[in-house]
């Protein structure tokens, strides 16, 4: 490729890591130390913030709740997007281009726009404060992106494979499960990464649609932030813990990321 003796990526990564470093440092400090001036390394490192979070179900359930609705959303998104992407990849049909654009257009809607209707709809369905409500709400931005990514991957699988499977007597379900999915496994990983990312970072809807039992950690933090804003070290520890699921995910899909991000044939 081009020159590799460049410092640019290193400088950029340092720029990304400095705020994270600061967050981690703050999470191990006491509030007294935070208030008494800048120290680059905690003088009296303490685990009490983490102990507090792991000792209070209200707090640690916040992480579990967020992970539950994010995973539900990833599963729903991929489950409905694979056949849809297959249709766009393999067939022409009435209004196909406009329909593809139509899906995309919903990705461009913002959570702020759909906030009120979602609250009203899920209230009528008696689904407020359930994980599934947030998982479904997040579909409006994740299903389109999942279709978009998977369409590229499916299109890079040769059409002959479909024919061969048909001749071998594979039904549609078996064809998808046994033949197509293994072929596009990296695509599934990348799609899961995108869906996880967009759902995991969103808070406006996730917070508005939940009250107690499905409240994500972000909602708990913002509620606590209003009450005890002085407690920076606790909020920092909660933030550090909120990074961990993402880091685990990255390590899992890392090998697919670089290849998969090119989105199959789209590149």
């Amino acid at each position: 490729m081009t020159r590799k003796d460049s410092f640019a990526p290193a400088i950029y990564v340092v720029f990304l890591m400095v705020p994270i470093y600061w967050l981690i440092v703050m999470s191990f400090k006491t509030n007294a130390e935070i208030g008494s001036g800048l120290t680059l390394i905690p003088q009296n490192p303490t685990l009490e913030n983490y102990q507090f979070i792991f000792g209070d179900p209200d707090w640690y359930w916040g992480y579990v709740n967020a992970i539950i609705y994010v995973l539900m959303n990833v599963v729903i998104s991929i489950f409905v997007a694979v056949p849809a992407a297959y249709a766009f990849s393999r067939y022409r049909f009435f209004g196909d281009r406009y329909l593809f654009f139509g899906f995309l257009a919903f990705r461009m809607l913002a959570p702020a726009i759909l906030l009120i209707p979602f609250v009203q709809i899920f209230a009528q369905l008696d689904l407020i404060d359930t994980h599934i409500a947030v998982a479904i709400a997040h579909c409006f931005f994740n299903v389109p992106i999942a279709i978009w990514i998977l369409e590229g991957f499916i299109s890079s699988v040769p059409r002959q494979i479909d024919e061969t499977a048909k001749m071998d007597g594979y039904g549609m379900m078996r064809f998808f499960a046994r033949i197509l999915l293994p072929q596009i496994a990296p695509g599934i990983a990348v799609t899961a990464f995108f869906c996880f990312m967009f759902s995991w970072v969103e808070l406006l809807l996730a917070n508005a649609l939940t009250t107690v039992h499905a409240k994500p950690i972000g909602g708990i933090m913002s509620r606590a932030g209003g009450l005890l804003f002085g407690n920076l070290s606790l909020l920092s520890a909660a933030s550090v813990l909120a990074l961990i699921p993402g880091v685990i995910l990255i390590i899992f899909v890392k090998n697919h990321l670089a290849r998969g991000f090119s989105m199959g044939q789209v590149s």
Partner: protein, 294 residues
């Protein structure tokens, strides 16, 4: 031409996705459209008012102020993130442990919840507790969060921090799809780095860049949580963006009609912009297909 068979049976494959989008996209948007032409009393009595809300929104300086700030913010962050993202992607090592470490570290901000992003940056600029704020105070200049320019730069830095890696990763993947033979040929011809970038890499990046611009435009245009945590829309209204205005109108003042009208106007803007992008992706694609067959 297009080798795909024409069959409306394909709708069978689309049915699950269409049902989900009906529930989480079309119906809620229908609600919004309904609000925008009705006045509501006590939350459940609706009276037809025609275009009244639209007239109100379109004559409201607050709406246009927020719209202008959102457009400005999107342009600002795109102008930073896209070139920076391309540059970093070009300079990233293609294989080896270092490459893996870079990719993992770069992806971390992408997976940081918006509230945490806002919190991180809010703390960072605090005069006593924050690294930036503290350093500025130590230098004797002070970090003035009452200065709109400083606040805007902070928000731009925050968004750069959060999302530039998306551009990097997309471009990096796009670059890896270029066969080595292209570079060898360019070297034989004695092409400069710039020529290689301009005539080999950039054309290959076009599609991933369209995707990156589209995603970044839409998400920065409707930035909500991060900016709100850091600035609460201030000082004054200098960082009150479109989605703040919208949420404020719809949930705090509970003006469903006015909020609905704003949302519909926003939707139309977004529809136009994304159609412009989408039609470019489609033409590019059919051109590629033709080339592949030739």
């Amino acid at each position: 031409m297009d080798p795909r068979p024409y069959s409306n049976l394909a709708f069978g494959f689309l049915a699950p996705a269409l049902i989900v989008m009906l529930v989480c996209g079309v119906i809620p948007m229908g609600y919004v459209a309904y609000y925008s032409v009705h006045d509501s009393f006590a939350g459940n009595n609706f009276i037809w008012v025609g275009s009244e809300w639209f007239q109100k929104v379109l004559s409201s300086p607050e709406f246009f102020g927020a719209l202008a700030r959102s457009v400005g913010f999107s342009i600002l962050v795109l102008a930073i993130e896209i070139p920076l993202g391309i540059y970093i992607a070009l300079r990233l090592p293609t294989k080896g442990v270092l490459s893996d470490i870079y990719i993992i570290l770069m992806a971390i901000p992408l997976l940081t919840p918006t509230l945490v992003v806002g919190y991180i940056w809010k703390v960072l600029v605090m005069p006593h507790a924050g690294l930036l704020g503290g350093a500025a105070a130590w230098l004797g200049i002070g970090y003035d969060m009452n200065n709109p320019i400083v606040v805007w730069l902070t928000l731009a830095a925050m968004d750069t921090w959060h999302w530039t890696s998306l551009v990097v990763l997309l471009c990096f993947a796009g670059l890896r799809a270029i066969p080595d033979a292209y570079y060898q040929a360019a070297r034989i011809d004695g092409a400069s780095d710039w020529a290689i970038f301009r005539y080999i890499q950039l054309p290959k990046l076009r599609l991933v860049l369209l995707i990156a611009v589209l995603l970044r435009f839409m998400d920065s245009f409707m930035i909500y949580t991060e900016a709100y945590v850091v600035t609460r829309g201030g000082p004054g209204v200098s960082t009150t963006f479109l989605s703040h205005e919208l949420v404020q109108t719809a949930t705090i003042q509970f003006d469903l009609g006015e909020g609905g009208a704003m949302a519909v106007i926003y939707f139309l803007i977004v529809l136009c912009v994304s159609w412009a992008f989408f039609s470019r992706i489609i033409t590019n694609r059919s051109r590629q297909m033709r080339r592949a067959e030739a």
